[in-house]
């Protein structure tokens, strides 16, 4: 966190005002990061940020500023969807994974229920033949068992084991937004420092909010 003792913070520089010792922005907007405040100011406005920070405990303010900076950055990159585009994409990926996992567990239960007996093996193999169309979830994870050249393996695991599902609707104007969202999501990486139980409640309570037209 920056000190306002010598040079004005990025916020006061931007707002062209004297940076007071008790400046609320100074600890979070150091003078060497002017773009951070510029983005936050453009999207949220200085007065709204001040009100928000004043409502929080001091130990929460740094995380709040950083999350506002991320959101502002995403909104400026994607003025239509902002970070909501990333959320929508992740929810879609999550639903797909749930489907894939459900399929895999369903196939697994057939083997487990039948047991590895003579009749069981043949029955399981027949079941596999009849259900070879099911995608057992290679899609988001490359690799797999390995490319054994056996019909059963082909039936369970597609030959293209590096297939990555792009769950975008073809021809949808959202495609560019999705690619952008993925790039942004990748750049954010694992936001482990922002993980918290409250967010779990928020995520569960809010399904896909914006369906791209």
């Amino acid at each position: 966190m920056a000190s306002s003792s010598n040079s004005p913070c990025a916020a006061c520089k931007f707002l062209r005002r004297k940076c007071q010792p008790e400046c609320v922005f100074a600890p979070y907007f150091p003078p060497d990061q002017p773009q951070k405040f510029a983005n936050v100011h453009k999207v949220f406005g200085a007065s709204n940020v001040t009100k928000l920070l004043n409502e929080l405990q001091p130990h929460q303010r740094e995380d709040a500023v950083n999350s506002l900076a991320y959101e502002a950055d995403m909104r400026l990159r994607d003025p239509v969807y902002g970070c909501v585009g990333v959320i929508s994409l992740l929810q879609h990926q999550l639903r797909q994974l749930q489907i894939d996992l459900s399929c895999a567990k369903s196939e697994l239960s057939k083997y487990q229920n039948l047991g590895i007996t003579g009749h069981g093996i043949i029955a399981a193999a027949n079941a596999a033949n009849h259900h070879h169309q099911q995608n057992l979830g290679i899609n988001l994870i490359g690799g797999g068992v390995g490319s054994r050249d056996h019909p059963f393996h082909h039936q369970f695991f597609p030959s293209n084991q590096q297939q990555v599902i792009r769950s975008f609707d073809g021809g949808n104007a959202y495609d560019a937004g999705n690619l952008l969202a993925m790039n942004v999501s990748a750049s954010i990486g694992q936001l482990s420092q922002f993980q918290q139980s409250k967010a779990t409640g928020a995520a569960d309570g809010m399904r896909t909010p914006v369906e791209p037209s």
Binding site: V80, V84, L97, L136, R148, Q195, A202, A203, M206, V210
Partner: protein, 156 residues
């Protein structure tokens, strides 16, 4: 989304009501904030401010403005529910769940591959129909069709 004419026939839009100004036929907010949606605009105004919303809408093509407003409303709603992390908290939570599910999927596929391998190894050996027992236990020469050994080896 109502047309300007429908909205301006009687009442102001929610934005102009909150901002206490006259709602003109060219009001930018009117198509997206109906007069009975005061709470919707209040949230957006509290988080972003009316002027910032106006600037964002001006940068967006007309046909995408409704989506832009809806995403701003969602973002504002989440930020008011979680003032510290907002949508970033939602993203972090989703990423965590995705990693957990990917892990579960890898485990499930590995277990499935084990059973498939056992099936393949058994059916592959068409000559004498004896299972390939180096995967389970040494063949004792007693009974080619003793399948009991398989039931003794659940997936570890």
């Amino acid at each position: 989304m109502k047309s300007h004419r429908e909205l301006c026939s009687g009442s102001s839009c929610a934005a102009c009501k909150l901002l206490k100004r006259r709602c003109t036929p060219t009001c930018q907010f009117a198509p997206y904030f109906q007069s009975d949606e005061s709470n919707k605009f209040a949230k957006v105004h509290k988080v972003f401010g009316a002027s910032n919303v106006s600037k964002i809408l001006n940068e967006v093509p007309q046909e995408q403005r409704e989506d832009a407003v809806n995403s701003l409303v969602y973002e504002a709603d989440v930020r008011l529910s979680d003032p510290v992390y907002g949508c970033i908290g939602v993203i972090a939570s989703l990423q965590k769940k995705i990693v957990e599910l990917q892990h579960d999927l890898i485990l499930s596929r590995a277990r499935l591959a084990y059973y498939v391998d056992q099936t393949v190894l058994f059916l592959d050996d068409g000559a004498n129909m004896c299972p390939v027992i180096d995967m389970v236990e040494p063949f004792n020469g007693k009974d080619c069709f003793s399948f009991d050994q398989f039931t003794q080896y659940p997936f570890p």
